[in-house]
Subunit: 304 residues, 2 copies
């Protein structure tokens, strides 16, 4: 309302949109369920639910008769809030920072200016600051007191260190995986993933971009078998890096993905065989070539 925006009402708007979706499948005259029921359904506090109901009433979508709330009319397109207003500032900053990283491709040692980013992102410095503090856990940036943040990666050393740990963790997880009971849901998921791979292999010509999503799904499944929060968390960092890697290195993407699918299929087959030796061989083989690809893309970046 006034110029000095405070907390932001993304939760309200998101919940309001959810309510609109909900109303869309109801008819005028239908009764609206209780606040507590909506609270559970929309995952928001009752305070927010009440605000939404009040707004729906004010907009003539429902009648607010205490415990007897009824639908008055079906929602129109213009009743919903734009998607961009339904995410909190902190989530927006996160997204904008990632885009900024891709765009500017900062190099090791580059300084990150809070004020500058805040201006670019259209948020206050605190928003940027808070994000950077959280992001620092990935070890890609580093703070020097009173003198701002510095970018640390993405160097060859970083990639090598990353892969050293990745291999350690994934090998351990893969061994845990083959030890999971045969009736576990993980095996079904693995079978599904295998089929997806075969399907993608047939349609590789036009769908090779879809590999990155499948890659993530597969490795995450394996890593989750470790049931170790540190190992699973670490895979979060790997995905982040790969997300960028896929954006950077468009060269030979189709060929690389094709090769990776074949490696994955070997690896998956080894998992189904439950033979630790075979798992080790196929897993290492795949990770080695994944590392090679990543390093190549770094060299390419550095050279031009």
């Amino acid at each position: 309302m006034n110029g000095v925006a405070m907390k932001g009402d993304a939760v309200f708007k998101r919940t309001y949109n959810r309510a609109i979706d909900h109303l869309a499948i109801m008819k005028p005259g239908d009764i609206v369920e209780s606040e507590n029921s909506l609270k559970r359904k929309f995952e928001a506090s009752r305070t927010t639910i009440r605000k939404v109901l009040a707004e729906l009433g004010a907009n003539g979508l429902i009648s607010l008769d205490g415990t007897n709330k009824t639908v008055l009319r079906s929602p129109k397109q213009k009743d919903i809030f734009p998607r961009s207003e339904t995410t909190s500032i902190s989530v927006q900053v996160e997204k904008k920072f990632m885009e900024w990283m891709l765009r500017t491709d900062p190099k090791h040692g580059d300084v990150i200016n809070e004020l500058d980013l805040a201006r670019q992102f259209g948020v206050s410095t605190s928003g940027v600051r808070e994000f950077l503090n959280r992001f620092s856990r990935f070890r890609l940036i580093e703070k020097r007191p009173n003198a701002g943040w510095r970018f640390r990666g993405f160097t060859r050393e970083f990639a090598l260190e990353l892969f050293e740990v990745r291999e350690l963790f994934e090998m351990r997880s893969a061994i845990s995986f083959i030890a999971t009971p045969p009736d576990s849901a993980a095996w079904i998921e693995l079978k599904e993933i295998e089929l997806e791979h075969r399907k993608l292999l047939r349609e590789i010509a036009k769908r090779f971009h879809d590999f990155s999503e499948l890659d993530k799904r597969f490795h995450q499944l394996v890593n989750n078998a470790s049931k170790n929060r540190f190992i699973m968390d670490f895979y979060g960092l790997i995905s982040l890096i790969f997300h960028y890697h896929y954006q950077w290195n468009k060269l030979d993407e189709r060929k690389r993905n094709h090769a990776a699918i074949l490696e994955h299929l070997d690896y998956i087959e080894a998992l189904f065989s439950r033979d630790p030796k075979r798992v080790e061989t196929t897993c290492k083989n795949h990770l080695r070539s994944a590392r090679r690809t990543l390093l190549e893309s770094i060299e390419t970046l550095v050279s031009h």
Copy 2:
């Protein structure tokens, strides 16, 4: 000066104290070196150096004659700022939070209230918030949007997951360690640590408390051999946990430390032998008993 304190001047006070220390070893009439030289020596910006010099002048410790600054009198005890005023708010919050954890011993699921902590610590909510964001990387607390932080550990599962990764990392580091060239400084440091162990063993009756420091030094040396930032960082988490563990579990401390020293000595000997098999055996043996101790102390805590 006025009631609304802003950034805080810990850097100034710390630097001022450093300057006082420096003046203490000079005689009246001696010439004070250049601002740039002091800047390098005291690791602060020239802005801060100038402020310090101005203050020293105002307090009659030096004469401020442009480029000709001379010592007027030796500093007295009352010239220095109290130590507590020389650390930044963020460092103070960190320290207070750790003390708070020890004191209140929060359990899994407990909520952490930013406002409450801010009041207890005598700082603003922003200070607490910023700290919690940074601290979240240790995975001991977790945020739920709009609903505050929750304590996650310190459970048996947490300890088991921690040790799984610790063993993986330390084994890898130990193997890297024995591969370092014989003229590396690490071997000298290891020898020193060995001697410290033997010395502590002789004086175990009265100095068993000193083990925790030595323990950290030893394992850090081994982990650093990995030259992997993720592995080295992880040891930061281990130290943090152990710091608390040592505070919690006072039972049998002397006996436990005595046993650990012997295990360390075996492990160190194995490292000197450069025999991977021996290193593996002694390292695993030590980590197994370290885990047992930690688990015992958790059970004890849970039971009363």
